[in-house]
């Protein structure tokens, strides 16, 4: 892999993106996200060809935000925090806890770190991947907490979306498009988040299964409430955790095996290459391709990461 650049200002990030001759890949830990697409598939997507046509890694520019972390501004009374996207969730939570606030983001306990290593990433990853957590039914998820962002676009422009107001319907919600886009539409550099009083934080109702400590989750599935018990029974031997409130199951599926699917459900996977993120709805694929084309016409930002060309 090429040298990873570690910018420490948003202007520097923008300059790197602007100057990059080829694809730009980024994640704060300078390691691929467990649920992300393996590099080889990213390369092939980039080339829009077969895996064997993959272009050399030496043409990639890698950015890590590990030097771009910390709270920029925290308005305690208004419960709004502005934070650099290289900050880890753990770091942010401990900052917020000092004034009895938090993000209602229920990570697994540290003893289960292997199961869900992704929870311990930085905001750019957590928001980029937007995976379920243990309080999503009770307290929502990133799309409910992110009030605004500063992003670096594919041409190296710094743009703002949203605002610092807890309620805002002015203009198009571009920040929502960035959440879960795995960095393919823009690089999230700064985030404005709504915080919660610790006192009001409900207790997660997640259940953990025997052997959870030694398993790594590679299957996250959300099913309809009417299918939840059926799914729990079907996946039982492979389950790490379930959240009955949001009907989400975390499992370690053996090998490349696919577990049982249920009507209207959705799944995110790890370790199965291209099938980590599988879209089957043609309408959605077409729209995603169109969005990517408009935001990043040269397919420069995290190419291939969303599993579309």
């Amino acid at each position: 892999m090429v040298n990873t650049l570690t910018p420490n200002s948003i202007d520097e990030i923008a300059q790197i993106v602007k100057d990059a001759p080829g694809p730009v890949v980024f994640d704060a830990q300078s390691a691929p996200h467990p649920f992300g697409l393996p590099t080889v598939y990213r390369q092939s997507r980039l080339n829009r060809g077969a895996v064997t046509d993959a272009i050399g890694l030496e043409n990639f520019t890698a950015i890590s935000l590990q030097e771009y972390s910390g709270v920029i501004e925290h308005d305690v009374d208004d419960q709004v925090v502005v934070v650099r996207a290289g900050t880890t969730v753990t770091q942010l939570q401990s900052e917020l806890a000092k004034v009895n606030q938090c993000l209602p983001y229920a990570m697994f306990e540290p003893r289960l770190a292997q199961a869900t290593a992704h929870f311990y990433g930085s905001l750019i990853d957590e928001i980029g991947f937007n995976l379920p957590h243990g309080l999503s039914a009770q307290c929502g998820s990133w799309r409910d907490w992110v009030l605004g962002m500063r992003v670096v676009t594919a041409d190296g422009t710094i743009a703002k979306c949203g605002s610092k107001a807890v309620k805002n319907v002015a203009g198009y919600d571009v920040q929502k498009l960035m959440i879960g886009a795995r960095g393919t539409l823009g690089l999230i550099a700064e985030v404005t988040l709504k915080t919660f009083p610790l006192k009001a934080l409900p207790k997660p109702e997640m259940q953990f299964f025997p052997g959870a400590e030694v398993k790594a989750a590679n299957w996250i599935q959300r099913v309809l409430p009417t299918d939840f018990q059926k799914a729990v029974s079907a996946h039982q031997p492979h389950l790490i955790a379930v959240d009955p409130c949001s009907c989400v199951l975390w499992a370690a599926a053996p090998g490349n095996e696919s577990l049982q699917r249920f009507s209207e459900d959705w799944v995110v996977r790890a370790g199965v290459g291209e099938r980590n993120l599988e879209f089957t709805d043609l309408t959605v694929i077409k729209l995603m391709e169109r969005a990517k084309q408009l935001f990043d016409p040269e397919n420069k930002l995290n190419p291939g990461e969303m599993g579309i060309c």
């Binding site: 208004d78 979306c161 319907v169 203009g171 571009v174 886009a181 009083p197």
Partner: protein, 494 residues
């Protein structure tokens, strides 16, 4: 009659088969649907020339009343083929001119699309056509102990399609969130007339969040014809209190203290003396002598939690010099306490021929400062103002009352609005918390967003809409051939 608007081809180039008169256009639409599904002529133009933001007006050429997604798609495709602008419209209760037929053309009314298509009680969701009134959804599932949580004050008439377009809020957003949090999926007729289905019974799947863009897209990204909405249990217990204060400062301090205490009431609303007077006149509601501000606070959930939350609220109110704390003893009394809030703006109609309700957001802690500013502006511009707002999330609604037959009063009202919203931005807030940008606030977008921010928004819009036919001239400034039309909408030419 000559069709003037469509002859100014909004996207340039030649218009091959464009109908040349209003009558011809209406005839063509009648052939496409049925004669009963098309309204045209002076009465229709007049009835559909604006929404509840009455400052700007523009006549549509014809109004269609489709009954299904397929009929909407037919109309949209016809509009595309004939280069005719189109604008979807629900109940027309919008407050920013979002359904103004800015360049004329066809208004697609969802008035006949009011059917509930599926209720899935076990999975707590419901599929309905977009013309259904918000309140009707809750009424339909009441028997199952469920409801649709977003409750804009217009909910008895405003449609789910309109709520989606504006990403509407309401008094209970503090605890339950706004429309976007309650929409699981939509059927959208895109601006080219293709039918897209996005989302479904389960929210939060992988992929780009297009649904999050469409909700709040102000009808510029296509016509939403059906929606899957989330249903939540009706709270087991509700306690509502109306608290009177002799100063605005005491009321705003109470709001800050409640939030800081970690209590999240279902509603935390504030009204000033202007609203009190109007409501007293309209409904004969009485308030304590010397009341300058009222807070309406509602706690809901499990009975024990509600009781303990209300106890904390009452203590905080007392500590902040409340004149009177009135807690509703039963449902009838609760409804009465809400009258002031939900009918407050309506009651203003008794005071003056016209009202304009603004919608700005500021960080909660800036409420006292902002209110003083609003009063000062109203005084300087010599217009009446009353305030009612969602204090819990810093969303204020200054309501100006004036006479719209006087162009100078209109000018002063608009100026006052712009001064107030500019101040909201300076204080770190937003020019709209729930009413949208529409045509009303389009010029203010540049104050809130830099050109590169707006460009990013324009890119998002282009995913769905890269032409000028689907609800043109809304949300984003600098749209081709819209600027010259603004004076005409306003009808005053100033």
């Amino acid at each position: 009659m000559i069709l003037t608007h469509q002859q100014e081809n909004p996207i340039g180039g030649t218009i091959p088969n464009m109908p040349s008169t209003h009558a011809e256009l209406a005839k063509a639409l009648e052939r496409l649907l049925t004669p009963e599904a098309v309204l045209s002529g002076a009465a229709a133009e007049r009835a559909y020339d604006c929404d509840a933001y009455t400052v700007d007006r523009s006549n549509p050429t014809a109004v269609v009343l489709p009954e299904s997604t397929e009929e909407v798609a037919k109309v949209v495709r016809w509009c595309c083929d004939n280069n005719v602008p189109f604008t979807a419209r629900g109940a027309g209760t919008g407050l920013s001119g979002g359904v103004l037929a800015a360049l004329g053309g066809v208004v697609i009314s969802t008035k006949r699309m009011t059917r509930i298509l599926e209720i899935d009680v076990e999975n707590c969701c419901l599929l309905a056509q977009s013309g259904i009134a918000n309140k009707r959804i809750s009424e339909a599932v009441k028997q199952f102990g469920l409801h649709f949580a977003p409750d804009p004050s217009s909910q008895t008439v405003s449609t789910i399609g309109g709520n989606i377009g504006e990403n509407s809020g309401g008094p209970h957003t503090l605890k339950y969130g706004i429309t976007v949090q309650h929409i699981l999926g939509v059927t959208l007729v895109d601006p080219r007339g293709e039918i897209l289905k996005l989302g479904g019974k389960l929210a939060g799947g992988p992929g780009y969040d297009f649904l999050g863009l469409i909700v709040g897209g102000e009808g510029t990204l296509g016509v939403v014809t059906e929606a899957w909405v989330k249903l939540v249990p009706v709270p087991k217990a509700v306690a509502t209190a109306l608290i009177a204060y002799s100063t605005i400062g005491d009321a705003t301090k109470t709001v800050a203290d409640i939030i800081a205490a970690g209590t999240i009431p279902a509603a935390l609303e504030m009204m000033d003396r202007g609203i009190l007077q109007a409501v007293r006149l309209a409904f004969g509601l009485q308030y304590p002598e010397g009341a300058e501000a009222l807070l309406l606070i509602e706690c809901d959930g499990e009975p024990e939690t509600v009781a303990s939350e209300m106890e904390i609220v009452k203590q905080i109110c007392t500590r902040n010099n409340a004149l009177e704390i009135r807690v509703a003893a039963d449902e009838a009394e609760r409804a009465k306490l809400w009258v002031a809030r939900k009918k407050g703006i309506g009651a203003m109609g008794r005071i003056a021929p016209s009202i304009v309700t603004h919608d700005g957001v500021i960080p909660r802690s800036k409420l006292p400062e902002m209110l003083e500013f609003v009063y000062a502006v109203a005084k300087r511009q010599q217009i009446g103002v009353a305030n009612l707002f969602h204090a819990g999330d810093g969303n204020l609604h200054p309501c100006f009352y004036f006479d719209d037959r006087d162009p100078d009063q209109i000018r002063r009202v608009i100026e006052a609005g712009e001064e107030i919203l500019t101040r909201c931005i300076e204080l770190g807030g937003s020019v709209s918390g729930e009413h949208g940008i529409g045509v009303e606030k389009i010029d203010l977008m540049k104050l809130m967003f830099a050109p590169e921010d707006l460009e990013l928004q324009a890119t998002s819009k282009r995913i769905f809409n890269d032409a000028m036919l689907c609800n043109p001239c809304k949300v984003l400034p600098n749209q081709k051939s819209c600027v010259e039309h603004q004076k005409r909408w306003r009808g005053t030419g100033w």
